[in-house]
Amino acid sequence: MNDHKKHKAPFIVLGIILLLCFVINISLGSVSIPFTDTMKIIFGTEATNNSWQYIIWNYRVPKAFAAILIGSGLSLSGLLMQTLFRNPLAGPFVLGISSGASLGAAILIMGSSLLGSLFSLSFINDISLAIASSIGSFLVLFAVVIVAARVKDTMALLIIGLMFGSITGALVSVLSYFTNAEKLQQYIYWSFGSVGNLTWNQLLMLLIIIFVGTLISILCIKPLNAFLLGENYARSLGVNLKNSRFFIIIATGLLAGGITAFAGPIAFIGLAVPHLTRQIFNTTDHRILLPAVLIYGAILMLLCDTIAQMPNSSSVLPINAITSIIGAPVVIWLLLRKRKMIF
């Protein structure tokens, strides 16, 4: 199809940018390591400095991979939600999915003291955290889906998403009020969002979750395209609405919930990237958009993480602050150019 040829060039360019961002991301950090040494360490040649090698392989490379996975996954979940709800402003953060995950995590981290010996502290490991926040995000997602079936108005849906966010926020506040300082701190650190501090094992789990989510999305490309016409037309094109909707929701929940579990709630990436991608590719075809969104999301997340690291300084900014500072103006800019906001 000649359509694919037309989009080849931007894909190649994006791929090169991704590679560049990856290299930049791992060559910058709080400890200044010369670029040539970074390259040497990555390509396995003898390093001049053992601690540099340790930093790169055990800190920077996993962090860069985490940024790629998180950026891609969040962007894809944003794309899925925008198509599913046929709403250009849909995204995991806006519709309260991330808040749901936060509630799940909060209950696990802080609620254990309230619920007593049912959960012991040692029980809070990565898997239980991932499960808790995934359950939280799925619950909110299903609530939003049920509400979305009743209200046709896009604005109403967004407001309802915000309200779900408020409710979960309130519950989290109640939990924080009753919990001890140590657990509160643990939760707050989680809620800042972070792409660092993931072990290779955690990365592998994240990879599996995102892989499954992406695979389901790829299998849903055809119904996703049909959904662009609206549900009634999609049905008339032979789409099994119930199944397709179900699988798209599962994929979204896996991606948004899984990522939030490991990296905390990360704002705006899911909302902004699909729109930015549409600016480049100028198509609505999910066969193009899906891979493009994955690459673009990874690039943006790597950049945000590079900034958050504040190269050559010892402090690290919360990643959530950076994505918000970059993401929110993007959304405002898109809203002002109304035409382009049409998804």
């Binding site: 662009l228 008339s236 094109l237 549409r278 035409r339 049409i342």
Partner: protein, 223 residues
């Protein structure tokens, strides 16, 4: 080609949408090729019935070509790539409705009338034996109304398709349709337009103190 006519709120769209399985039936049974409608899988039905609805499409960011290509979905593979035959059908649909000049435009750049033509083309690309259209010509000017309806009639006769559409343009329908269905509160009449005129079915459609029907010219007169 059959037109469904009747006053506002009598249930033209409801009937059409029920026939297209867009909404569940209130009562009764619908058979397509002697098989109950509910026994069809969505995919099997999609190669039997295509629809053009009055509701706006969700994404106006689609190009005309992309939108019409979506009509081939029931026939494409799991990821929806178009083969030679699909592209041929799409091209044919575009040229039938004379949309060549518009095919790379985005839907938000089109007028309502142009969009209606695109939706008709999409239904044609779906290549089904039954096409249901809900007020397909409401935004078109007289020339394009007649053009689309004549085209549909031609297609219906040429390819032995069943085309069923709802309309308020009764006079055009009388001139162009093979059959007409007049929906009324307590009775409905179905038949060839001339026959319906003879049965004085059109006279009953509107209150006779405002509008009367002239059987010789087949048109309505305002009193």
């Amino acid at each position: 080609m059959t037109a469904i006519v009747g006053i506002n709120g009598i249930g033209k769209s409801t009937l059409l949408r029920t026939l297209g399985k867009v909404q569940p039936p209130l009562s009764g049974e619908i058979l397509v090729n002697k098989k109950p409608l509910e026994h069809y899988t969505p995919l099997a039905l999609a190669s039997e019935i295509s629809v053009v609805l009055t509701e706006p499409i969700a994404s106006k960011n689609l190009t005309v070509l992309e939108l019409i290509s979506l009509g081939r979905q029931p026939y494409t593979n799991w990821i929806g790539s178009l083969d030679e035959q699909d592209r041929h059908k799409i091209k044919a649909a575009i040229s039938m409705v004379q949309l060549e000049a518009l095919q790379h435009k985005k839907c938000y750049e089109l007028s309502d009338g142009q969009l209606q033509k695109v939706m008709v083309a999409r239904a044609l690309a779906q290549d089904t034996s039954i096409i249901l259209l809900d007020e397909p010509t409401s935004h078109l000017d007289l020339y394009h109304k007649v053009h689309i309806l004549k085209l549909l009639k031609h297609i219906a006769h040429e390819t032995k398709k069943t085309i069923l559409y709802t309309t308020h343009e009764i006079e055009i329908a009388i001139q162009l349709c093979d059959k007409m269905l007049i929906l009324e509160k307590d009775r409905s009449s179905f038949g060839e337009p001339c026959e319906l005129i003879r049965q004085q079915s059109f006279e009953r459609l509107f209150p006779s103190d405002t509008i009367t029907f002239d059987p010789t010219s087949g048109s309505f007169k305002i009193i």
